[in-house]
């Protein structure tokens, strides 16, 4: 009687491959029979033997995450055969860059406001002759009071490191037509 190691029916992989699901089947813990599409996608893009090799190179506690990320990539590739996940990465990188620019602009605005606040609340020039129109600075000198969470310091935002381009294959001796060594 065929059975998976932890299910009464064969796992989705063995069902798909039409083979006996033996105890200890490497796919059984990660491809339950209720999710046939998950294995179908992974098989279509990566192939069962490649997935087996990948999983065998990992420690058991890493395999679930690896399978889930492979399933994610496979589904992305099925939906977008040209770009797969890379399309999402490009989109998200652009969002990060846009937000970084907005942060820089907001930070500059905050500094400007803070400076104006200090000027408005700081030492005032002596008043002019009585017949001069009273200026708006006729307020006794006060210490500048921080507003909100400013606390008297300028709010500095750290720069968010976008994916370091040095680690991208585009910059890692990447040359689709150039010469690199073939070692993996």
């Amino acid at each position: 009687m065929s059975s998976s190691s932890s299910y009464n029916s064969p796992c989705a992989a063995c069902k798909f491959l039409r083979r006996k699901c033996i105890p200890g089947c490497i796919f059984a813990p990660y491809f339950p029979p209720e999710e046939p599409q998950k294995f179908a996608n992974v098989h279509k893009i990566f192939g069962a033997s490649n997935v087996t090799k990948l999983l065998n190179e990992l420690l058991p506690h890493q395999r679930e995450d690896a399978v889930n990320s492979l399933a994610y990539e496979a589904e992305a590739r099925v939906r977008d055969p040209v770009y797969g996940c890379v399309g999402a990465i490009s989109f998200l990188q652009r969002q990060v860059e846009r937000l970084q620019k907005e942060l820089d602009a907001a930070n500059a605005d905050l500094i400007r406001f803070a400076c104006n606040d200090i000027q408005a609340a700081g030492q005032l020039p002596p008043p002019a002759a009585p017949q001069a129109v009273a200026s708006t600075h006729m307020v006794p000198a006060q210490q500048p009071r921080p507003a909100g969470g400013w606390g008297g310091r300028f709010y500095q935002t750290p720069s968010f490191p976008v994916i370091p381009y040095s680690s991208m294959p585009w910059n890692d001796n990447y040359n689709p037509h150039g010469g690199v060594d073939g070692s993996i």
Partner: protein
């Protein structure tokens, strides 16, 4: 036109035919590119993916397959999905920071507005202290009485 075998056919040790699906995208001077995609996807899967696409899209597909294969080799557990997670986190953090800074700007501008209004009010008070009250008397005890500024 390639004078020799493409990187794929060299790797697979076979003849590189004139209509080889791989040769435009896996040139012989970049053997690592094909080696990576072959390790992760397998040559036949890559060939199927490319064949199912119009010719005009195959170069981009080959590039993205190489990118994903590279990421998977560097990070066998998460591959390029790890990058997506990091990017989502960066976006979340950046948005949170932006919201916070904008709230601080709003608070500062409210403080500035209140101070300006208060200054305007004080100016009016001072101005009015120059004016005699309805009995024609100056009030020298008004808060911003400037009459003694020039003592």
């Amino acid at each position: 036109m390639n004078s020799g075998r493409c990187a794929a056919c060299k790797h697979l040790r076979r003849r590189c035919l004139s209509d080889c699906i791989f040769s435009p995208y896996f040139p012989p001077n970049n053997p690592r590119r094909f080696a990576y995609v072959h390790k992760i996807y397998g040559a036949s899967n890559v060939g199927k993916i490319l064949k199912d696409l119009p010719v005009s899209r195959r170069a981009e597909a080959a590039d993205s397959l190489y990118y994903e294969a590279y990421c998977r080799i560097k990070d066998p557990v998460y591959g390029c999905v790890g990058l997506i997670t990091i990017l989502h986190q960066q976006i979340y953090n950046a948005q949170w920071q932006l919201d916070r800074i904008q709230a601080e700007i709003a608070a500062l501008s409210t403080t500035t507005d209140h101070r300006s209004q208060s200054e305007v009010q004080q100016v009016e008070n001072v101005g009015s202290s120059f004016l005699p009250d309805q009995n024609g008397v100056h009030d020298s005890n008004s808060f911003y009485d400037i009459s003694n500024w020039f003592d």
